[in-house]
Amino acid sequence: MEGRKLRGMFGSQTKPETEEGQNTMSQAGPVTETSSQAPGTVSARRAKTLEAKGVNLYYGDFHAVENVTMTIEPNKVTALIGSSGCGKTTFLRSLNRMHELTPGASVKGDIYLDGEDIYGGGVDPVAVRRLVGMVFQQPNPFPTMSIYDNVAAGLNFNAGKVSKGDKDAVVEKSLRGAHLWDEVKDRLDRPGSGLSGGQQQRLCIARATAVSPEVLLMDEPCSALDPVATLAIEDLIAELKKEYTIAIVTHNMQQAARASDNTAFFNLDESGKPGHLVEIGTTEDIFTRPKQKETEDYVSGRFG
């Protein structure tokens, strides 16, 4: 079952879908296989695959990320781990064309969403971001808006006229999906900034899912939260992958182990050099039998 909750360490996971165990993984290098839905996978909704091919990212002249090729599989959680400054967040932001919002930033290489190049000619970055949503490190509800309006923001801004009833339904569904409904249903008209940090982050997740994206990118969504709120978000992520493809940047290795299906390890040789993808595989493989020495050192807490 895709929707099972991944609690505890990877070691306790059972892996019923043996046939998909090693299928679409590849190391940094050319992708030899396009991802196909593993047979027998049960999901509420078939989300879309993101594939990066030879992605190089720059801030002005600074080469931040070098030649990343990897696949983010549908209806799975892919964790991006690695030390600070190795380009995980930069890479994540290139996946919904947020990277280019930084002045001077540029992208080389291709990223495919369900086979379509999101950096291709005639592609509207705004449209890409509707399909690939993002949750940020700091919870950032819009301070001028109520809880309700925060969740409905995507509809209010971009969906043209939506009837009040439809909007109510979307808001309730999104808040329920974010495990927040019961806590806020009586105060939907209160400002979103009045919630606790963990609630705010779930509100932001509800806001991101309200526009029904295909992929959800999460940039260290729990780093500003306490362990209880973190656990709530991790449970939520396990639920969300039924409907979405999820990529999550995290500094917390237990979190990667607990919450993800696949893990990509990024590293950089030294400060000032570009970061690169060292290895990607199932989370279990990366944490128990990594192919690269670097990966093993990192996940076991030994460096150098």
């Binding site: 971001r129 949503g133 940020f136 301070p143 001028t144 923001a153 801004f157 900034s193 991101a208």
Partner: protein, 361 residues
């Protein structure tokens, strides 16, 4: 080689270490600064009176100086050099603040004292058409509000849109050039703005033209850079993560600005606009050139001359009627009214800010 610690270092008690270097152990009573200041003032007043030079200003100046010196000496004897310096500097800064406030308070006091004598029902409800030694300033009040209102209508959209360009879209040399010219515009003498507006309208309407809207154009030249500057500052402090949150929902940039950035900055924008209006509402020179002097009520900015409070006050003072004192009183009353308008605008700005400010990180 580090020098060996001084021999007595070991015997210093924790208590003296906590008290800090050069401390003598005592503490002045809490009333000491005020007491010393009061004593010094009384002493100076007495001494100056004895010499026959007594004035309030001299007493205050010498009293403050002597008070500071007295507190320094007293504190140095009881508390030690470091605290004595602290007390002396604190008092010096407080005195500098008092000196800075003095003209403001003196001005307000004088304007209120003289202004209330000219205030009457008639002052607010009648103009000065065909009256000798009487009349009111209704035409000037209406003119001030109309001219400043039109100036705001011109300046606010231009100023805020320019600030949006500079902060959200502008890049490279064009942005730098615009910022530079905005800075230059801030320094334009107001009479130049008036002459510019006059020259502009003269092109279309011929020489001698004077209208309310010309004054508004002149004031806009002064107001636009102020609005741009304050709006730019306010937009700058809207955190970038809010823009990104909006982009991540698939929102176009213009909509992000309209629905997220501007509402978040709303309180600051309104405050900036109010302060800009307050800044230009009392301008005299450009209006003298562009809107002229007139005695009767005219609320139409596109037709004929228009009076305003600043020019009215100037005119009542420069060419008083038969009853000179009544004219002077009316000039002061106009000044008081102008200050009241500025004050009201500032209070509104505060209230709006308090009501609509958004907490951002």
């Amino acid at each position: 080689m580090t020098p060996p610690p001084p021999a007595d270092a070991a015997v210093l008690s924790t208590r003296s270490l906590l008290a800090g270097e050069g401390h003598r152990g005592g503490t002045l009573p809490s009333w000491a600064p005020w007491g010393a200041l009061g004593g010094a003032l009384v002493f100076c007043a007495a001494a100056l009176a004895a010499l026959g030079w007594f004035t309030i200003a001299l007493t205050l100046v010498f009293g403050a100086l002597i008070g500071i010196v007295a507190v320094y000496a007293w504190s140095r004897a009881v508390e030690g050099a470091r605290r004595a310096k602290d007390r002396a500097i604190t008092m010096a800064i407080a005195s500098a603040f008092a000196v800075a406030m003095a003209p403001l308070i003196s001005l307000l006091y004088e304007v209120v004292r003289r202004g209330v004598q000219g205030l009457s029902w008639e002052f607010f409800t009648s103009d000065a058409r065909g009256v000798v030694g009487g009349g009111g300033a209704e035409h000037a009040i209406v003119g001030t509000l109309v001219i400043a209102g039109c100036a705001a209508l011109i300046s606010v959209p231009i100023g805020i849109m320019a600030a949006i360009y500079l902060n959200e879209y502008g890049r490279g040399p064009l942005r730098r050039a615009l910022t530079f010219f905005v800075d230059v515009m801030t320094g334009i003498p107001s009479i130049v703005a008036g002459l510019f507006a006059y020259a502009l309208f003269e092109l279309f309407f011929g020489p001698g033209i004077q209208m309310g809207i010309m004054g508004s154009v002149a004031l806009s030249v002064l107001m636009i850079p102020i609005v741009i500057r304050s709006a730019e500052e306010v937009l700058k402090i809207v955190p970038n993560h809010l823009r990104e949150a909006s982009y991540a929902l698939g929102t176009p940039k213009w909509k992000t600005i309209a629905k997220v950035v501007l509402p978040t900055a709303f309180a600051g924008l309104v405050t900036g606009v109010m302060i800009a209006i307050a800044r230009i509402v009392g301008e005299t020179a450009p209006l003298l050139v562009t809107t002229g002097v007139v005695d009767s009520l005219n609320a139409n900015p596109f037709q004929g001359r228009m009076q305003n409070l600043a020019v009215y006050a100037y005119n009542e003072y420069r060419s008083p009627g038969v009853m000179k004192q009544a004219s002077y009183d009316r000039a002061w009353a106009a000044a008081l009214t102008l200050i009241a308008i500025v004050m009201i605008l500032n209070v509104i700005a505060r209230l709006v800010y308090r009501r609509y400010k958004t907490e951002t990180r």
